[in-house]
Structure formats: structure tokens, C-alpha cells
Amino acid sequence: MAKFQTPLLDQLESGPWPSFVSDIKQEAAARAKNPKGLDYQIPVDAPEDLLGIVELSYRDKETHWKHGGIVGVFGYGGGVIGRYCDRPEEYPGVAHFHTIRVNQPAGKYYTTDFLRQLCDIWDLRGSGILNMHGSTGDIVFLGTQTPQLEEIFWELTHKMNNDLGGSGSNLRTPAACLGQSRCEFACYNTQDICYQLTQDYQDELHRPAFPYKFKFKFDGCPNGCVCAMARSDFAVIGTWKDDIKIDQEKVKAYVAGEFKPNAGAHAGRDWGKFDIQKEVVDRCPTHCMNWDGSKLSIKTADCVRCMHCINTMPRALHIGDERGASILVGAKAPVVEGAQMGSLLIPFIEVKPPYDEIKEVIEKIWDWWMEEGKNRERVGETMKRLSFQTLLEVTEVPAQPQQVRAPRTNPFIFFKEDEVPGGWTRDIADFRKRHQR
């Protein structure tokens, strides 16, 4: 029988989606049975107590977790987050319930052996409850106690050759889409740059010295499977410069109904015959496409790489050959200020190992933000406070039309005298001859 009655949590299980409540109940039952005969290093009933305190929070409509703590592994300022509950006598199994972030492999590829090892560590030394994955991208181990932290860290690093992720005022665990390993739209090797920058910036990942968190995310194309533009301070999004490649015969085959649009992704109901005009050409956000009944044409200068036409007809259209990425800076969720999307800083940059050009931009941003950023201010907020133009100056990126969403709506660029040929010294007496006060 359950340790606590949890009517409010039970209700959550009645919804149409898989429920975390069911998962925790399942883990509680498994730990009570202990089929492997483990010598559990934290209370066996931690999942039961977790259900109990979450139920209490739902009833009270306030949290029963305290805020942070001095916990971690030696030398690391991130990767472990102290969590204590404020009703330890009633829920001793979660009195100390620290979180550990485990750096996920690039593209989130695992062997089943790796997953089993993770679960074995966590069954023995933690609550057995984990997130695959947290919104940071990490594997998140939920709930252990201080004496277990170094043990877990040693096993992860020495037996599994795997590191902790980032938390706190650190570079957070970089995240990438699965890129060229599976996807024909990927414009660069997202997994490689993610891995390389994780290695190169170990100091930033583990030893906090930023004003607040800083996230990299790498999307191979503008479809944005890791949502870099919305979720990372520094988003690298694959793009191309030349024309979308068109196979006119395959376009005709789509029109004739020989291929399913969207690779059959919306086959759950009958949408009628595929209509290229309505479903592709008219949906183009910049109206840069034309279909004359036998030939599809695209005006590349007007294309904004929205990916809609390519997604709809992947066998007929393909990304261009001159590939690289756009860099956007400053996306964030609301804390000090409201949520914001990334702002385009560099319209096109080549993405090739050893990625020195990209690292140069990153480091210039860090140097500026570490000097100028206020405590708990994301780089997007510093950028807003001190102006996008200042960001252009510190990164030595020239102002470009692509950075302006629409003419005369966001005039953040002001020319300085030394940027204008001849400057703007003028004779005020001469000016007054033509202009009265």
C-alpha cells in the first residue's frame, strides 16, 4: 500500500499523456521489491516521499523545496544542485534530494550498455528517478545525498568516461541536433562542433565566472530541432547562400501525387489532393516562389530559408551547396526581463574545424559580458541595455542589412563620424544662411 494518499497526483494519471506520477509509483514499487538485492545508499522510500511532498505542494499551492546549497564535487562549481525539503521529519526520504546534471553525448546517441550503466549507478546511489532529458539537454539525476556525490562523479568519469553538465553561472552543457548523422538538411556537422566546444571550454563549463548562465545550441538547419534561436544565448543555425536545388521532375511527381508531401508526416487524415500552389507557393513567407504548371522557380535573393518548401517536398528540393551558419545572440526565458528570441548577429559564417572563427566571436562576447553584465543578467539583457550597436562594436561585426528585420522599424545602428567618408564637420554660419532658428 502506498505510504501517502495522493488524490491530486492520481488525477494527473487520468490524462491522455504518460504521467510522471505513474513513473514515480513504478519506481517506488521496484525499490520496495529490490529484485537485484541492492544495498541502497539513500532511503529506499525516496520515491514514496517524493510523491508525498509533491502532493503536499499541490494541496498547499506552494513549494516545499528550499533554494540551493553548498553541494558539489571537488573543483566543480556546477553540475550538482543542492535541494532540501522544508518538511524533513514527515518526508525523510527527500530531506536531502540533490540533483546531478550529466553531460549528454552530442546528438543524444547512446548505447544500451551506457544507459544501463547510468541506471545502475542511479539505482544504487540515488532515488532511481531521472529525467531523459532536462530542458537543458542534460541527463538529470533527481535526488541523492551529499556523501554519494563524489562516488557518482568518480564512477561517471572513471568507468563511463562521461562528465557532469553545467549549472549555475557557467557555460551550460552545449546541445546539438543530430545533424549530419541522420538528417539531409544539416548544413554543418553539429555534433562535432558541440563536442569540440564542450572540450575547449571545460573551464567555462565547470568553474563559474559569468554574470549568469550562458548556453550554446547548434541547429543544423533552420528547422531548429534544438530550438537554438529561442533557447540559447548563442545560437548557431545552419544555412546556405546559394540556390535551393530543385529537381523539376520530382516536383512534377509530387504534383501528380506520386510522392506523399511532407514525407507522409500528416497522413493521419485525408487532406485531399496535393496542391502545390496552395500548400507550398502561397505559404512562402516572402512570396519568392512561382509555379507555372510545369516549372517551379525560386528567387533566392528573397528566400529567408524558412524550410517550408523543402520540408513539404524533400525529394524535389534540397538545401544549397554553399553551406555554413547564421549566429544569433541573446535568446532567453523570462527572469530579470521578459522572454526574448535571439537577434541575428552574423548572417553567414563558415563552420569548419577547428571552429576558430566562431570561437573568436564567442570569446569577444564573453569578455564584454563578463566586464559589463550585471549580476543575474543574461547576455541578451546586457545587449538590450547597452544596445545592439555596442555588441556589433565589441564583436567587430559590421552592421549589415540582414540584422534589420524591416527598414525603419528597429534603427539601432547610428553611424559615427569616422565611418562616414568626409565626416560631418560643417560650418554652422553657412548652415544658418539656409536655416532660420
Binding site: 553548498i70 553541494v71 549549472s167 553561472s169
Partner: protein
């Protein structure tokens, strides 16, 4: 005075009022040094177990080892 002692003296001088400090709080102690150099001093002190990190999960702060609310105070041994 050694750079490490400047940090330790600063923290001891403030210990009655505060036990945790943002990274930026240390920058004015070394007006001639950039953030990366100051970080090296703090890292050295953490590795020498004279400073320790406090983390809320989203923000990290530095404090003297043993100062402020420790895990023992939360009932952990």
C-alpha cells in the same frame, strides 16, 4: 599582499554581514586585472579548499569554506 590574501581578507571583513558573493564582487579588488585573471585567483583558492561554491541551480556564488549554511545544518552528516 598576495592576490589570494586580498580575496580572503575581503571575505573575512564582510563575514559578519554576508557569506556568499557574486563573481563580480571580486573584480573591484583587482582594478588592474581582467575577469579571467580574477577567475584564476578564485579557482586557486577553491582548489586549496579555502573558498567554496554555493549554487541555487541557476546562479553560483563564492564564499569562505565553512561560512554560511552548510549541509550539516540541513541534517546531512
Amino acid at each position: 599582499m598576495a592576490d589570494e590574501d586580498v580575496v580572503l581578507d575581503f571575505l573575512k571583513g564582510k563575514s559578519a554581514a554576508k557569506s556568499k558573493f557574486y563573481f563580480k564582487d571580486f573584480l573591484p579588488l583587482f582594478p588592474d586585472k581582467g575577469p579571467r585573471d580574477v577567475k584564476k585567483i578564485l579557482t586557486k583558492l577553491v582548489n586549496a579548499e579555502k573558498l567554496e561554491f554555493w549554487s541555487s541551480g541557476s546562479t553560483t556564488m563564492y564564499g569562505l569554506k565553512g561560512a554560511g549554511k552548510q549541509s550539516q545544518a540541513e541534517g546531512e552528516d
